[in-house]
């Protein structure tokens, strides 16, 4: 009894902090999503109405929400594999016995991660520029027609993906480098003796040994990518023609630009449900592929 009490006393500070700064705001947000809290309610609480599920219904009926969801899924489906693939490829190159100046390259490839989105976005806007941009200059030297990266609704999202992948792959690369170093060299040696080529070694040793790391990196990257916000906020403001509005950007506009905090909270919870579902799906998939072995 006394011991239990002592236990509670010890964790009380942490519990209080978590309760105050996590549970309470989340609960308040959930409550807010069932109300029509807006500018008028801010002026006078008597203007607040209980909205039930109206916010959710309205958000689900909003074409822009589905468009934002589509944009976000596009970003996740194209961006996550690209990001993970690139980090894995770079990690493998860095681990290769042929690589020279490893610490230099490791730092150089990791550098974008520690830069500020806003500052780098300004530079990338120049790179993406139709007439004076480096990307189009390279394209022109290959004989390609200039692409209006940030002005064409069809190209704006690919441009954002390119930028985000460049900005973020370094973090995963470092995790992969660590995981690769943990794979015992004996395994490769044994495989070589059995006559396995480089590709077989990669598929049958490297990938399975990286399994848990891949899952971790996959889940982390995906949850990060679902929360796309800063890149379109800085580079395109959701445009052109709403082609880079993400779910989070929609929430920001509803909440802090138009002060429909009720509806913004509903958007936030819908995104939360979606992310939980997708993460669960991914875990399930990972468990199923592990079990037969």
């Amino acid at each position: 009894m006394n011991r239990a009490l002592a236990g509670w006393v010890f964790i009380a500070p942490s519990l209080a902090v978590i309760g105050l700064f996590f549970v309470l705001p989340v609960a308040a947000g959930l409550a807010l999503s069932f109300s029509d809290f807006d500018l008028y309610a801010l002026a006078d609480l008597r203007n607040l109405r209980f909205a039930g599920l109206d916010n959710y219904r309205q958000v689900l009926a909003l074409p822009l929400f589905w468009k934002a969801l589509g944009n976000t899924l596009y970003f996740v489906v194209a961006g996550v594999p690209l990001s993970i693939g690139l980090s894995l490829a770079c990690a493998l190159l860095l681990q290769s016995p042929l690589a020279r100046f490893k610490p230099f390259f490791r730092t150089a490839l990791f550098a974008p991660v520690v830069t500020t989105v806003v500052a780098v976005a300004v530079i990338w806007r120049y790179l993406f520029h139709v007439r004076y941009g480096l990307l189009n200059a390279w394209g022109a030297s290959l004989g390609l027609a200039p692409v209006d990266w940030l002005g064409d609704p069809a190209w704006a999202m690919p441009a954002i993906i390119l930028f985000s992948v460049w900005k973020g792959f370094g973090a995963n690369m470092i995790i992969f480098v660590a995981a690769l170093q943990a794979i015992p060299l004996e395994l490769y040696e044994a495989a070589r003796i059995d006559g396995a080529g480089r590709w077989r070694q990669f598929v049958d040793i490297t990938l399975p040994m990286l399994g848990p790391t891949l899952l971790l990196v996959g889940v982390l990257t995906m949850t990060g990518y679902f929360q796309l916000f800063a890149e379109p906020y800085v580079m395109t403001q959701g445009g052109p023609l709403e082609s880079t509005v993400s779910v989070l950007y929609l929430m920001y506009e509803e909440g802090f630009r138009w002060w429909n905090l009720g509806r913004a909270s509903a958007v936030a919870f819908l995104l939360f449900v979606l992310m939980v579902a997708v993460t669960r799906g991914l875990m399930h998939l990972a468990r199923r592929t592990e079990e037969p072995k």
């Binding site: 029509d36 807006d38 500018l39 008028y40 801010l42 002026a43 006078d44 008597r46 203007n47 109405r49 806007r125 520029h129 139709v130 007439r131 004076y132 209006d148 940030l150 002005g151 609704p153 395109t236 403001q237 445009g239 052109p240 023609l241 709403e242 802090f256 630009r257 138009w258 002060w259």
Partner: protein, 431 residues
Amino acid sequence: MTMPRRRAFIAGAAGVAGATLGLGGCRRGDADAPLRFWAMGREGEVLETLLAPLLREQPRLRVRVEKLPWSAAHEKLLTAFAGDATPDMAQLGNTWIAELAALGALLPLDAGAAGLDAADHFAGIWRSNEVDGRLLGVPWYIDTRLMFYRHDLFRRAGVPSMPGDWPGLVRALDALQRSGVAHPLLLPLNEAEPLLALALQQDDPLLRDGGRYGDFRSAGFQRTLAFYIERFARGHAPFLTNNQISNLWQEFGRGSFAAFISGPWNIGELDRRLPTELQGLWSTAPLPGPVPGGRFGASTAGGSSLVVFKRSHRQQQALQVLAFLGRPQTQLHFHALTGNLPPRRSTWALAPLAGERRAAAFLQQLELAKPTPAVPEWERILQEMQLQAARAHRYGTPVADAAAALDERVDGFLAKRRWMLARGALRARAA
């Protein structure tokens, strides 16, 4: 944590808490605390210089200017209200007045008070400061949109000056195209003001029933929308957003386009940025109007106003500052410092402003300026209007369908306002 260090930590925390309380106390009670004045952008930078004569006149008056960036100002004002931390007075974009009025944050001003001479102001701008018949702000500087154009290119195409009506403008744009300017009129697709200005030229109001519903299906707005979209369809205007034009002034100097619709700040920008050989080649002119044979049309009534907050404990001092900034001599000084155009006719009559050729077109346009509906939802409605117009062009939506879709969205934005009006929590005025 060792003992002395922990004590230092606690002392530090107490100090921070004390300082916070002290600040709070300062803001509320202390009568000697300076007047807090929020101002944005360039105006914030020159305000101290501008106020210096007043502070010499009144040594007991102290003003603390707090500068905000324009991009964050709107959010800061709303959060300041939510957090009970509004300043004593502020500069406010006049389209935001309705929003802060809905919050009940602004002090109603006495239109007859000293220094506030309504008849000396431009009617359209003055009305943009009124919500439900009450005056909540005083115009500080004004902003309307009109044509900047290269008269050398117009003349080369055989057009002596900016036409006064839409059919004339269309003929001029055709002639410019023939003379080699592929897209003579710049209408950036993500900028709502040009379309808004053209829409205000019609007699139909943009909202109906006291701001309860959108009225974009009116014949007038549909005419404007059709005219706007046709400019892109016929290549008179390039299909571009602001982000895609790297340097407006340079492209204007190069003759990539011959005319664009913009505000007073571009007089200064073009003066500064165009090379001397181009300086004599550009002019300003009021916007052409929709009535064939008519003489120029209306435009927007924008700009910034000065407001006093209801929660301020220094309202008397704030009103003094307000009156000082409204003096014609102060406004002339302000114009010299920033290039902003003054809101009073008596200031315009003073030298050197009276002699400025390019500002004269603004004076003419200001007499025709019309305010936008004073509803808090206006910013959002404006953005939706521009979006639907850009979309109608891109996807070839018929004008009537685009207008109907816009009305439907706008009615949704105004739903809460209708409920508020129905239960008497708001007073409606023909918006």
